[in-house]
Amino acid sequence: MTEYLAVLIFIFAGIGIVLFTFLLSRLLRPINPYHEKNINYECAENPIGTSWVKFNNRFYIFALIFVIFDVEVVFLFPWAVVFGQLGLYALVEMVIFIGILFFGIFYAWRKGALKWV
């Protein structure tokens, strides 16, 4: 547990440094906002409409496939750790596991879900 304590101290120290530099910069820098300065950037024009443009829903499909493969990778970590003891047996199991998933990526490929248009 003490190992995680060190991580915790590290996080707080990191946040502390960031906040400290922000504070220091706040004391040093000029503050002079006015309307024209605070307009969002849009190629030197006044912004048109909201920032909410319509996105390609392919981003979402990729995120879905990513979640599935992320779960798979997480399973691989404990497998790799015990691999030395279990050897061939574990390898066969993992080949089946990945083989089934590979069928999935093959399917996605054939259906064109991995194609970016």
Binding site: T2, E3, L5, A6, V7, I9, F10, I11, A13, G14, I15, I17, V18, T21, F22, L24, S25, R26, L28, R29, P30, I31, N32, P33, N38, I39, N40, Y41, E42, P47, S51, W52, V53, F55, F59, F62, A63, F66, F69, D70, E72, V73, L76, F77, A80, V81, F83, G84, Q85, G87, L91, M94, V95, I98, F102, I105, W109, L114, K115, W116
Partner: protein, 340 residues
């Protein structure tokens, strides 16, 4: 208990100082190396050989006005630089930087925290890197930022799977998740001190790791989120002053972090000649290896043009992912056959 906290505190200060200095000089190194690659000389006015340039930059950014556009979501906007910087920093918590030593009668582990799940911790922290970008893109209220944010997060998650898979090969050989043990397994007493480095057993794994690491840190040739010519710097378009600086430092911290983890996994970490004779020389070897990784990064930046977005996604899913899976299985087979 108090002793543990003090020891951790000292190490935290040391690591933080090293990382921040490293980030500062990584910017200098990048400008200098890219300069020379392009037949320029790079920064040269501030101090000898321009060595004080990072300090000049820091002071300049400190004195810049912090412009917060009217349309931003203030709370999230303020949170984003922090969220992008902290995960970059956290990776260094588990990177070992030397042989265990005795300092003033205390046994000191030369790693901030020797977690059992070391490399899994790194992988988990890397997966958080997306948030800084998503938050910045969303809160800025600008089309470019949002577009950059979404693109960037899609890119990062696409390469994250292969990033994780490229590490598995090493783990299959080493059978441990602790970075400390990984480094110890790469030790060698012979004159060929590098003979046990995992890079020789995992050449494809190392290549995949480096490729995915570049994509994860949004560097050229995978720097589409920033794509200054189309997205005017993407997710940090609306940031200025120190908030912008945080993104900037975060990016370099990330680069150094993946370099350090890569050096630890594939090139023996702090192992090198004389680590047993001279105390603390491990830090130097690790720094040298990180320097080489960083140099490759910058070299690639100076050489390669940017990918198109569809090429990037295709490459990630159709080339890297199958290759990484194949690498894992072949490594497994080799281990079972006893060829390693």
């Amino acid at each position: 208990m108090v002793e543990i906290i003090i020891a951790a505190g000292i190490k935290v200060i040391f690591v933080l100082a090293a990382v921040l200095t490293g980030c500062a000089y990584a910017t200098y190194m990048e400008r200098k190396v890219v300069g020379h690659l392009q037949h320029r000389i790079g920064p040269s006015y501030a101090g000898p050989y321009g060595l004080l340039q990072p300090i000049a930059d820091a002071v300049k950014l400190m004195f810049k006005e912090d412009i917060v556009p009217d349309k931003v979501e203030r709370a999230t906007f303020a949170l984003a630089p922090l969220v992008s910087f902290i995960p970059a920093l956290l990776t260094f918590a588990v990177v070992p930087f030397g042989k265990d030593n005795t300092v003033f009668g205390y046994d000191v582990k030369m790693v901030l925290s020797d977690l059992n799940i070391g490399i899994l911790f790194v992988f988990a922290i890397t997966s958080l890197g997306v948030y800084g970008i998503v938050l910045a893109g969303w809160s800025s209220g600008s089309k470019y930022s949002l577009m950059g944010g979404i693109r960037s997060s899609a890119q990062m998650i696409s390469y994250e799977v292969s990033y994780g898979l490229s590490i598995i090969g090493v783990l299959l050989i080493a059978n441990t998740l602790s970075l400390r043990e990984l480094v110890e397994q790469q030790a060698s007493d012979s004159i060929w001190f590098f003979s046990n480095w995992f890079i020789f057993k995992q050449p494809l794994g190392c290549l995949l790791y480096v490729t995915c690491a570049i994509a994860e840190t949004n560097r050229l040739p995978f720097d589409l989120p920033e794509a200054e010519s189309e997205l005017v710097a993407g997710y940090h378009t609306e940031y200025s002053s120190m908030r912008f600086a945080m993104f900037f430092i975060g990016e370099y911290a990330n680069m150094i972090a993946v370099s350090a983890v890569g050096a630890t996994l594939f090139c023996g970490g702090w192992q090198g000649p004389f680590v047993n004779e001279i105390p603390f020389i491990g830090i130097f070897w690790l720094a040298l290896k990180v320097f080489v990784f960083m140099f490759v990064y910058i070299w690639l930046r100076g050489t390669l043009p940017r990918f198109r977005y569809d090429q990037l996604m295709n490459f990630g899913w159709k080339v890297l992912l199958p290759l990484a899976l194949l690498n894992t299985m072949v490594t497994g087979l080799f281990v079972v056959m006893g060829w390693f």
